[in-house]
Amino acid sequence: MATPYRHWEILERSRTGKFLDENDFLPKVFSPTLKKLIKKYDIKYDPKTPCPSDEGMADRIWQAAWDLFRDVGYYNTDSHRIIEIADAEIKEALYMAQGQYTVGGGREARVMKHRSIEDTQPPFCIMSPDITVDEKYHQSMCMAYLKEPLLDGLCGPILEETFGHLIESGGPSEISGCIQHIQNQKMAARLLGRPGVFMVAVGTAEHDSGQIAVSNNEWGVQTTDARLVGSLTEFKTADTLLNRSLHYAQYGSFTGNLTGAIYGGWCGGSEGTAITTVAYSLIGLVIHGAMFNQHFPFHLNYGSNTTRELLWSIAMAGQALSRNSKLLYTSNGFANAGPMTEMLFRETAAHALVSTVTSWQLWEMASTRNKYRNRATPLEARLGCEVGHAVARQGMTREQANEIANRLLAKYENNAADAPMGCEYHECYNAAKAVPTVEHMDMFRRIKDEIAEMGVEFLY
């Protein structure tokens, strides 16, 4: 965590920092600075290597990210002022950051530990559908994920309705929906015999009031759990977000910094996306006191990160972070295709493979561009985490990962724009028992065999 005084310093700078019209921040400050840094540090994307192993460039990306954060700052849209940070403060926060944390409780407590490049220690595996789900399937889906053996942490599906009422952000229905969300998740964990399992919750809360309403060690989000605080695209925050990080710190739970640098947007291409992703880890640490950073850089048009432009950004950002810090950071997969499609399994495998060998922890797997209700299942997350454990244990190199990633990409990248939507949860899972259908399991095993033939040595 960041040093304890920092929240107050940040709040102060939100009020006293340099004034700037919000309309000028991205086009006149952020993007031109990023463009100059890409040139200064000679960062170049190579489409042939979705999993590169250029450590010199990784170090330059780290320095570019540092400069970006220091030179641009972090914009508060409520006060219209820039929160500026000095080099010494970044250094201090990095020195104070811990390389590992114990999360979750009791028998289910787990250690999330900083990973090196090509580390043989498996990644910490957080599983999440990342999408909304019908109220009637919410607890079933929570249970289905919690049944996954490799799950170290759960971020449950999001509710759109609570007892038949549409949830409206900032309104009473959101408070109710958030309580229903965490209670479904905790009940599912208890029923499955994993009561202390680490949770990142609750995704149903878009407004700070929803998050604050569920902080309760007896029935809600516990202090052994984590909560997320997001950024606005790019490098912007608001009081409703700063409210969260302050509340999380005061409540005593862990904070995760949720960011998705947009490829094609203000970051520009793969180079800018990689730099911005690394810079967001520094923002998470220094501004929000985050224990871990949860990154999902994504493609502006597709809303995914399994195409080669994004795999490259993920791979380079991971190496930059690993070589220059002891931070914790999860790689959140966003696929184009939907559940029970071969494409989704291949996309997930490529994402997990590249992320794992370049030092990330895993957060799998948003499917169907993270857009459609009920379209995600634990089975794609299982495949991603089995790939992650396998490639770590076998000591896979980046060169090997690059070759396999290219073989996987050859099978799906041309379909990114018109990826199949697949099935909804209840069409490929028995929702009553929270288990996959026979047809779904058959496809899982078939694609797993295909990936094994490419060189992934699955453990079972």
């Binding site: 086009p27 993007s31 031109p32 463009k35 952000s169 929906g177 407004h207 094609g264 520009g268 857009k371």
Partner: protein, 211 residues
């Protein structure tokens, strides 16, 4: 000095030079309608490059600024010749409770560079403000964006306010944003689901023509 050079300046996003060259071309007697036609085609080309992500958002935004600078110089001459064609008037914003505006900003740029007048209401906009601004502007469209599932109901609230005021049929209600869909548009009774920014001008024009 040529029209081709001006088009290149628009493509390169050089607003300062574009403004100067536009004035020079007018002084040379180049037809302003011909100029606006060429500039519109150039911007359409820039839009195509952006749609394929051969260029990125900062570049198309600069092109948009350069186009605006040129159009500002041309405006008095266009007015004298009957004015530039206005394809429709739009109030546009991100709904209450939602602070994500990158998609809305792209839609705004694409619409403006294709002949629509857009009143940008920003983000976190109360449903009633959409309606009041549409009335003030005498808009054709009320377009709202939502990036979060829990802010989508605010799009429905805009329609409900229009109905309560008895003016539902005065406006085409458009919805967009990552979690929205045709299904959601049908469910709440929106007139148009705008699925991406590049299609917006065509979709809006077709809706206005009743297609």
């Amino acid at each position: 000095m040529s029209l081709e050079k001006l088009c290149k300046l628009i493509e390169d996003g050089d607003a300062v030079e574009a403004k100067i060259v536009t004035g020079e071309l007018l002084n040379k007697g180049v037809d302003p309608l011909k100029m606006i036609d060429s500039l519109t085609k150039t911007m359409a080309h820039v839009g195509e490059l952006f749609a394929k992500l051969e260029i990125f958002l900062p570049e198309i935004m600069l092109s948009g600024e350069a186009l605006s600078a040129a159009v500002d110089v041309l405006a008095p001459y266009l007015d004298a010749t009957g004015g530039r064609e206005v394809k429709g008037k739009v109030v546009l914003g991100v709904v209450k409770g939602d602070l994500h505006e990158i998609g809305k900003n792209i839609v705004k740029l694409i619409l403006e560079t294709n002949g629509f007048i857009v009143k940008d209401l920003g983000y976190n906009v109360d449903p009633l403000i959409f309606v009041k601004e549409a009335e003030a502007m005498e808009a054709d469209f009320i377009a709202s964006s939502s990036l979060m599932t829990t802010t989508m109901p605010r799009q429905l609230e805009i329609i409900e306010i229009l109905k309560s005021k008895g003016i539902r049929d005065k406006y085409k209600v458009v919805i967009g944003g990552a979690p929205t869909s045709q299904m959601w548009a049908d469910k709440i009774g929106a007139d148009l689901y705008c699925y991406d920014a590049k299609s917006a001008p065509e979709l809006f024009s077709a809706a206005l023509a009743g297609k």
